[in-house]
C-alpha cells in the first residue's frame, strides 16, 4: 500500500501550469501558427486532436479573466470566444515531454480514438452537442498524463505491477498513489474551472453509475473507452479489456450495427503511427 499523502499529491497536481504534448504535434503546430489566413474552424480542428492543447484552451477560456468559468466544454466554442490572436499566443507556449515520449504516444492514440468513438455514440444518441462529449472522450485519461509527468518512476512501477499481477491499471494506481487517474484528472479539471459535466466524466468514466449530473455522457465515454481498448488502438497502461458497466451498456442500448459504425469510424480516422510521433 502506498504511503503517498493525498493532500500533498493533490497540491502538486493543482500546481501544474500546463500539460505537455508529443513531438509530432509540436512540429505541425509551427505550420499552423504561421499559416496566414487560418480560420477558426481549421485551428479548432487542430487543437481538438490533442489533449494538451485542448486542456490549455479550455483552461484559458474558463478562467476568471474571461468571466464565465465552468461554462465552456467544446474546443470550437473556446476558439470563438478566445479569438485567433489569443489562441496563437497560447500555442506558442506549448511544451513537449521528451522523456516519456513512447508511453505518451500510446496514450495519445488511445485518447484520440476515444474522442472519435465518443462523438459517434453521442451523435447516435441524438445529443445536441456531440463535440462536448468528444472533448470528454479526448480528456478522460488526462490523469495518466499528469501522473506520468509528475511521478514518472512511480507510474512506470504501477504499469509494471498491472502487467505483472494482471490487475487493472486503475487498481495499480490506487496501490501506488492512493488515488487513481480518474481522481487526479478531476482535481485538475476542477482547478481549471472546467464545466461540471466534463469534470464528472473524467472522474466517473470507470464507475459510470456514480455520475449524477451527466450519466449519459459518462456512459458514452465509458463505452467509447472500452471499444477503443477492445479494438486495440493505442495503449492506456494495460492491454486487457475491462468489464463493461451493465447499467451504462443498457442505458446506451447500442445495436451491433451502431457499434460496428463506431469501430469503422475509428478505423477510418486513426492517423498512421508516423504522424503521431
Amino acid at each position: 500500500m502506498s504511503n503517498m499523502d493525498l493532500k500533498v499529491l493533490r497540491h502538486k497536481v493543482e500546481n501544474i501550469n500546463t500539460l505537455p504534448t508529443v513531438p509530432g504535434v509540436l512540429k505541425r503546430l509551427s505550420v499552423v501558427i504561421e499559416k496566414p489566413r487560418i480560420t477558426l474552424v481549421e485551428i479548432s480542428a487542430f487543437i481538438a486532436n490533442d489533449p494538451a492543447l485542448t486542456t490549455k484552451v479550455l483552461k484559458m477560456v474558463n478562467s476568471a479573466i474571461y468571466g464565465f468559468p465552468g461554462r465552456i466544454a467544446s474546443v470550437s466554442h473556446a476558439t470563438m470566444l478566445l479569438g485567433l490572436n489569443i489562441i496563437k499566443g497560447l500555442l506558442l507556449g506549448v511544451s513537449v515531454f521528451e522523456l516519456m515520449q513512447k508511453a505518451m504516444s500510446g496514450l495519445y492514440e488511445h485518447s484520440l480514438a476515444c474522442a472519435i468513438a465518443s462523438r459517434v455514440i453521442a451523435q447516435k444518441k441524438g445529443l445536441k452537442e456531440p463535440e462536448e462529449v468528444s472533448v470528454a472522450g479526448l480528456l478522460h485519461d488526462i490523469g495518466k498524463v499528469i501522473l506520468t509527468l509528475e511521478f514518472p518512476t512511480e507510474y512506470q512501477a504501477a504499469m509494471n505491477e498491472a502487467q505483472g499481477k494482471s490487475i487493472s491499471i486503475f487498481d495499480a494506481e490506487k496501490n501506488q498513489f492512493n488515488a487513481t487517474h480518474a481522481n487526479v484528472g478531476s482535481w485538475l479539471a476542477e482547478k481549471w474551472h472546467f464545466p461540471r459535466n466534463l469534470i464528472e466524466v473524467i472522474e466517473c468514466h470507470h464507475r459510470p453509475a456514480l455520475a449524477k449530473n451527466a450519466p449519459l455522457e459518462t456512459a458514452i465515454v465509458h463505452m467509447a473507452d472500452l471499444l477503443v481498448r477492445a479494438r486495440g488502438f493505442g495503449f492506456a497502461g494495460e492491454i486487457f479489456v475491462p468489464e463493461v458497466n451493465a447499467i451504462a451498456y443498457e442505458l446506451l442500448n447500442l445495436s451491433s450495427s451502431d457499434i460496428k459504425d463506431v469501430l469503422r469510424e475509428m478505423e477510418d480516422n486513426m492517423e498512421s503511427a508516423e504522424d503521431i510521433s
Binding site: N17, T18, T39, L40, M60, S63, I65, Y66, G67, F68, R71, I72, A73, H77, T79, M80, L81, L82, G83, L84, N85, I86, K88, G89, L90, L92, G93, K128, E129, P195, N213
Partner: protein, 309 residues
C-alpha cells in the same frame, strides 16, 4: 501594487530594473516571450517592458496581436531600444513609448510611471466586455463615410434577456453579456482581421462593422454560435423544457423562451449614407424587424425576405 512584466535577457538591465522598481512596482522578469505570455494571460499586468534586440521586433508583434483583444487593449508597452535601432519606420515599432539603452539609468522609472498613468486615463470602454462604446462607434462609422468606404453595419441585441436576468440574477446575466461580446468579437475578427470593428453600446446591445461581402456569413455564424452556447447558460431543467418561469413587465407570471439574438444589418452598397445617424437608424429598424421572428435571426435591408437561420 501594480505589476510590470519585463521581457529581457540582459542581466545588467534586469538587475537595474529590479533595483529601480523595488517597493514601487511588482516586477516579473521573463527571458522569453512565450513564458511571459502565459503570465500575461493569467494576470493582466499594468505595463510590459520589452528589451528589443537588434532590429528584431518579433516580441513586439506578438504583443500587438494580443492587444487587438479587448481584454488586453489598454496594456501599454515600453520598449528598450539598442542605440543603433532605426526608428524611422513607425510600423515596426508600435509601442506606447520607448527608451534608448543609453538613457536607461536616467529615464526608466519616469517612463514607467508615465506609461501607466497615460494608459489609465479614462477611455470609453464598457466595463463588462471591455469593448468600445458609442463615441468610438460614431467615429468608426463617420470615418468610413467620409472616406467613401463601403461597409456593412450590424446591430445586435438579445431577445428575452430581461427575464433571464430576473430569474437567474445579475451575475449570470453579466456572464451572458460577456460571452456575447467575445463571441461577436472573435467571429468578426476571424473573418476580417483588419478593418473590422466591434462595439458595445450598453446592456445587451452590440454593433459590428465588417466588409459588405462578409456580413451575412458573419451574422449567420454569430447566430449559430450564440444558439449553441446559450443553452449551457440555463439550468438543465429549464433548457430541456425550453423556457423559464418569470414575471413580465406587468408583474404577471409568464413563460419565456430561451434567449435568442436578433441582428439588423444595413450596408452602404444598396444605399449610400451621408450621415452616421442614418446608418444606425436603419440598422435599428432592421433589428426591430428581426425581433418579430421567433428565435435568432438576422434581417438585412438589402434583401427584405432573407432568413437568417
Amino acid at each position: 501594487m501594480k505589476t510590470i512584466v519585463i521581457v529581457c535577457r540582459d542581466i545588467i538591465l534586469n538587475n537595474s530594473i529590479e533595483r529601480s522598481t523595488k517597493g514601487l512596482y511588482q516586477s516579473v522578469i521573463f527571458n522569453k516571450m512565450p513564458s511571459a505570455l502565459d503570465y500575461i494571460y493569467n494576470s493582466i499586468p499594468n505595463l510590459i517592458v520589452i528589451n528589443v534586440i537588434h532590429d528584431d521586433p518579433i516580441a513586439i508583434n506578438i504583443i500587438n496581436d494580443i492587444k487587438t483583444d479587448p481584454l488586453f487593449y489598454q496594456l501599454p508597452v515600453l520598449a528598450i531600444l539598442p542605440d543603433q535601432f532605426n526608428i524611422d519606420h513607425p510600423e515596426t515599432l508600435m509601442v506606447e513609448d520607448y527608451i534608448w539603452r543609453s538613457d536607461f539609468e536616467r529615464d526608466f522609472l519616469a517612463r514607467v510611471n508615465l506609461s501607466i498613468f497615460r494608459s489609465e486615463k479614462n477611455v470609453e470602454i464598457n466595463p463588462l466586455t471591455r469593448l468600445p462604446g458609442n463615441i468610438s462607434i460614431g467615429r468608426e462609422v463617420r470615418e468610413r463615410i467620409e472616406k467613401n468606404k463601403d461597409f456593412a453595419f450590424g446591430y445586435a441585441d438579445l431577445d428575452y434577456f430581461k427575464p433571464f436576468n430576473d430569474c437567474y440574477g445579475f451575475s449570470r446575466g453579466d456572464e451572458v453579456i460577456k460571452m456575447t461580446g467575445r463571441l461577436i468579437f472573435g467571429i468578426v475578427k476571424a473573418k476580417q482581421p483588419q478593418g473590422s470593428f466591434v462595439g458595445h453600446i450598453g446592456g445587451d446591445d452590440f454593433v459590428f462593422i465588417i466588409d459588405v461581402d462578409l456580413v451575412e456569413e458573419a451574422a449567420a455564424e454569430i447566430i449559430k454560435a450564440f444558439d449553441s452556447l446559450i443553452t449551457g447558460c440555463y439550468d438543465r431543467e429549464d433548457s430541456t423544457q425550453g423556457f423559464i418561469q418569470s414575471f413580465d413587465r406587468k408583474g404577471k407570471a409568464s413563460q419565456f423562451p430561451v434567449m435568442g439574438i436578433s441582428i439588423g444589418i444595413t450596408e452602404t452598397r444598396s444605399r449610400p449614407f451621408s450621415h452616421y445617424g442614418e446608418v444606425t437608424e436603419l440598422a435599428a429598424e432592421m433589428k426591430k424587424f428581426a425581433k418579430q421572428f421567433k428565435g435568432s435571426c438576422f434581417k438585412s435591408d438589402r434583401r427584405q425576405d432573407k432568413e437568417g437561420d
